[in-house]
């Protein structure tokens, strides 16, 4: 018996504008609203709306038998609300069917797990809250940003009450073992580990339209056939990918939507195949072994490590300077400042600074809104400098007026910097 477990990642970052030196201390509006809006509308049109329609149709046609799961980042949700509310509504409709599972992750799609566990936990809690308020849903399975994972992450997820956690089925952690089983993290008691079958996942996500690939053209029949072959030596096939695969990375003209529409029926033609969500996989199967993942793995690039975000001195410098501000940002009590700081944690900002141009570089280039990785580094550091000035104003104010008047300091800062509280808007606090 093979359970096919689809998991889609939905994310859009708040991209920074080319923040110039002259704006430091003078303009604390960091984000490129126009570009963010434009990209959100484009992706909504090419991917989210048509793909959600396909999934909803499939659920309606096939009933109980078809399931999928998603995780949607907080920053994507905020941008849905801001630019394209019908996308959020269409996700809500999907969740309302009861056959869609939602996963938790960090609200800001951040690398906080690597730099501040305190911040990491706060962001997971924020995401949990957003799931509850927007979907009336309580996720039971956790996936970290970019499937960044190690033993410690499993322990943290377990402490936070999750039943399962997702990771990349990377060769260097699996060795001779297969990703098509449930595992138990070596440091955890109850939590289970689902590993991505990267060969089959990437066949769809990366190779679907690649004409030089021997599998091209990839039909639903062919793919279902590969899945069925796992019968007898695997319990589950975990197909994890970016949701933007459908219509955005693989354009509609490649036939990706037809593929998606026909795939479930083809898979179910084999009597032993079925669909499950991550928490069903956790409930249904027993772990076959313990897995010890000491070093951090991710689902990115051929290296499956952190080098896409933390591979060069610019990236290291940027992220270290960012997390160095944590205490003072939190002490300031300025909600807007906190939100800006958190939006800067989104992994994409560091991805844009990546200088690995070969092979994977192509993908990087595609996703990069800047001309050069250096430009994104420069904009980011300029923004951090402005943030430094905001913090300085807070500090001076507090020193002048004593701590108890903190709230007034906050108000003064609001007057100076303006800005909306979109998170409050979103969560209705």
């Amino acid at each position: 018996m093979v359970a096919v477990c689809f998991y889609f990642q939905v994310h859009q970052p708040y991209r920074l504008r080319k923040y110039p030196v002259f704006d430091i201390g003078a303009n604390s509006d960091y984000f490129n609203h126009e570009k963010n809006r434009e990209i959100m509308l484009k992706v909504a049109d090419k991917c989210y709306l048509p793909a959600n329609r396909v999934i909803l149709d499939l659920i309606n046609e096939m009933g109980e038998e078809f399931r999928v799961s998603y995780s949607i980042t907080g920053v994507a949700l905020e941008q849905f609300r801001e630019y394209c509310p019908e996308v959020l509504e269409s996700f809500q409709r999907l969740v309302d069917t009861g056959q869609v599972e939602l996963l938790d992750e960090t609200y800001y799609h951040s690398l906080s797990f690597l730099y501040s566990e305190r911040e990491f936990i706060e962001q997971v809690k924020m995401h949990r809250k957003a799931m509850k308020e927007l979907f009336g849903y309580k996720p039971r399975v956790f996936r970290n940003t970019e499937l960044i994972y190690n033993n410690r992450l499993a322990s943290l997820a377990e402490e936070m009450g999750y039943k399962g956690v997702l990771a990349e089925g990377a060769d260097h952690i699996l060795g001779w073992r297969s990703p098509n089983f449930l595992y138990k993290p070596v440091t955890a008691k109850r939590i289970r580990l689902l590993l991505k079958n990267y060969r089959l996942s990437d066949d769809i996500a990366f190779r679907f339209s690649e004409r030089s690939w021997e599998g091209w053209p990839l039909t639903a029949e062919k793919f279902a056939n590969w899945i069925s072959k796992i019968n007898g030596n695997g319990n589950c096939v975990n197909l994890f990918m970016d949701y933007e695969t459908f219509g955005e990375h693989q354009w509609e003209s490649t036939g990706i939507f037809d593929f998606l529409r026909r795939l479930p029926a083809e898979i179910l033609k084999h009597p032993d195949n079925e669909f499950m969500t991550p928490s069903e996989v956790v409930r249904e199967f027993k772990p076959v072994a313990e897995l010890d993942v000491h070093n951090v793995v991710s689902w990115a690039d051929v290296e499956r490590d952190l080098s896409a975000w933390l591979g060069n001195p610019m990236q290291m410098s940027a992220i270290e300077c960012l997390y160095r501000l944590e205490d003072s940002v939190k002490e300031s009590g300025d909600e807007k400042l906190l939100e800006d700081w958190r939006r800067l944690q989104t992994a994409d900002h560091f991805y844009y600074m990546c200088t690995k141009w070969f092979n994977d570089g192509d993908v990087h280039k595609y996703f990069n809104v800047y001309e050069r990785p250096h430009d994104s580094f420069i904009a980011f550091m300029n923004v951090l400098n402005d943030m430094g000035i905001r913090l300085k104003i807070h500090k001076n104010w507090r020193e002048k007026n004593g701590k108890e008047k903190n709230n007034e300091g906050k108000k003064e800062c609001e007057e100076i910097f303006g800005g909306r509280y979109s998170r409050e808007l979103l969560l209705g606090q």
Binding site: F22, P313, M314, A318, M381, N385, G388
Partner: protein
């Protein structure tokens, strides 16, 4: 006059200097035809409107050529590729590589010279020297002896940190040898020309660049100045300008004063390297990059700085130092520069002496009195400069050249 660039489309001191000199000369009643390379059909500009000549007349002629200021062979190839200048079937109107294009430009200059009436040919830097030689030949064909003046704003030795590209060096040498007179922008440059090109020093006239001071409403000062001490680097990010020295200086200062920010304005072939190096040195949050700026933004950049540093390893003149002073910004400049011969209200240090550089910059940052004095006296000093002076000297040279018995 043959040049490479002219404001507002200029990327460096050469354009500014040509503009100043041309204006100075026309004010003295000289008629000038200024010849520039330009891509046919590229964004054009009405130079005439920018330059309302008072007495003399100024005409612009353009030659369709893919030459840009400060171009290197590689930059030329990239440029041709990026702008898709290859014609149908791969055949191109433009030269296959930089030197072929320089040659093509020179031959086109001959044609321009044939239908013109002129007394002096004045060329600015190596790309135009051969054009000048061809123009002189064209005049000769029509039975006129016209003197050729080679103006040298920078040598290949300056630009490459002492590792000249052979062919550029050759073109410079050819132009300097062929020229009847040479104008060098400083004694420093005259020395370079004598030393590296074995040119007779008697042929070389030093005419320092200048600056015109005009009373204008100042651009607003950027906010960041209220919160940080600002050290400014402004120039092409190439080996010549010493951006790597600037980083070393920045690192040392950052170690003792957390509140100083270093702003790098400009672009160039070392840009990426310098950005990465700043992160490498752990001062990624202290060194801020503003890319290439023009117009009012340049003034804002100068005004934002508490001190302007010019750590060039070899600077024939260094107009930026005068510009900084004009906006009241104290300057610390490299001793290996032409500008240090003509200004007093500045601090001068050997470019390689990082310790002393740091020491001088720190002093300016620390002592407000020193800063204020340098600023005020600097502006006063700048007021005494005018492009009238170099234009006068230039005109004298023209007269002398025309009187010369052949």
């Amino acid at each position: 006059m043959f040049g490479w660039e002219f404001p507002p489309f200029s990327s460096g001191g050469l354009g500014t200097a040509c503009y100043g000199l041309t204006r100075g000369l026309t004010n003295q009643g000289v008629d000038i035809t200024f010849v520039l390379p330009r891509i046919e059909g590229a964004l054009d500009c009405d130079y005439m409107r920018i330059l309302a000549a008072e007495k003399g007349r100024l005409k612009f002629k353009t030659i369709d050529a893919a030459l840009r200021p400060y171009m290197t062979s590689k930059a030329y190839n990239d440029f041709i590729r990026d702008f898709g200048l290859k014609g149908f079937g791969g055949a191109s109107l433009y030269g296959r590589e930089l030197f072929e294009e320089v040659d093509r430009y020179a031959r086109a200059a001959e044609a321009i010279a044939e239908d013109g009436d002129f007394d002096v040919i004045h060329c600015h830097d190596w790309m135009t020297y051969r054009a000048g030689i061809h123009a002189r030949k064209a005049a000769e064909k029509m039975g006129r002896k016209v003197p050729l003046i080679a103006h040298i704003h920078s040598t290949e030795f300056d630009r490459t940190g002492g590792h000249p590209q052979g062919y550029v060096y050759y073109l410079e040498w050819e132009g300097l040898r062929e020229a009847d007179y040479i104008v060098a922008v400083s004694d420093y440059t005259k020395g370079m020309v004598v030393r590296h090109y074995s040119i007779d020093p008697k042929k070389i006239h030093v005419i320092h660049n200048a600056i015109d001071y005009e009373e204008k409403a100042p651009a607003e000062t950027p906010k960041i100045k209220e919160f940080h001490k600002i050290v400014l680097f402004l120039g092409r990010i190439t080996i010549q300008k010493g951006p790597d020295h600037f980083l070393r200086i920045a690192k040392r200062i950052a170690e003792v004063d957390d509140n100083v920010r270093f702003i790098v304005v400009g672009s160039g072939d070392m840009f990426r390297h310098i950005v990465e190096e700043s992160a490498n040195l752990g001062i990624g949050d202290k060194v801020l990059f503003a890319d290439f700026l023009s117009g009012k933004d340049v003034e804002r950049a100068y005004r934002m700085a508490h001190v302007y540093v010019m750590p060039s390893i070899s600077e024939p003149f260094g107009l930026t130092a005068l510009e900084a002073m004009k906006y009241g910004t104290p300057v610390v400049i490299s001793k290996q520069s032409g500008v240090s011969e003509v200004i007093k209200n500045c601090l001068v240090v050997d470019f390689w002496d990082v310790n002393r550089m740091v020491d001088r910059i720190m002093a300016v940052l620390k002592y407000k009195e020193l800063r204020d004095t340098m600023s005020m006296e600097g502006v006063e000093e700048i007021k005494r400069f005018s492009w009238r002076e170099p234009a006068k000297k230039c005109l004298e040279l023209y007269r002398r050249a025309m009187k010369k018995k052949w």
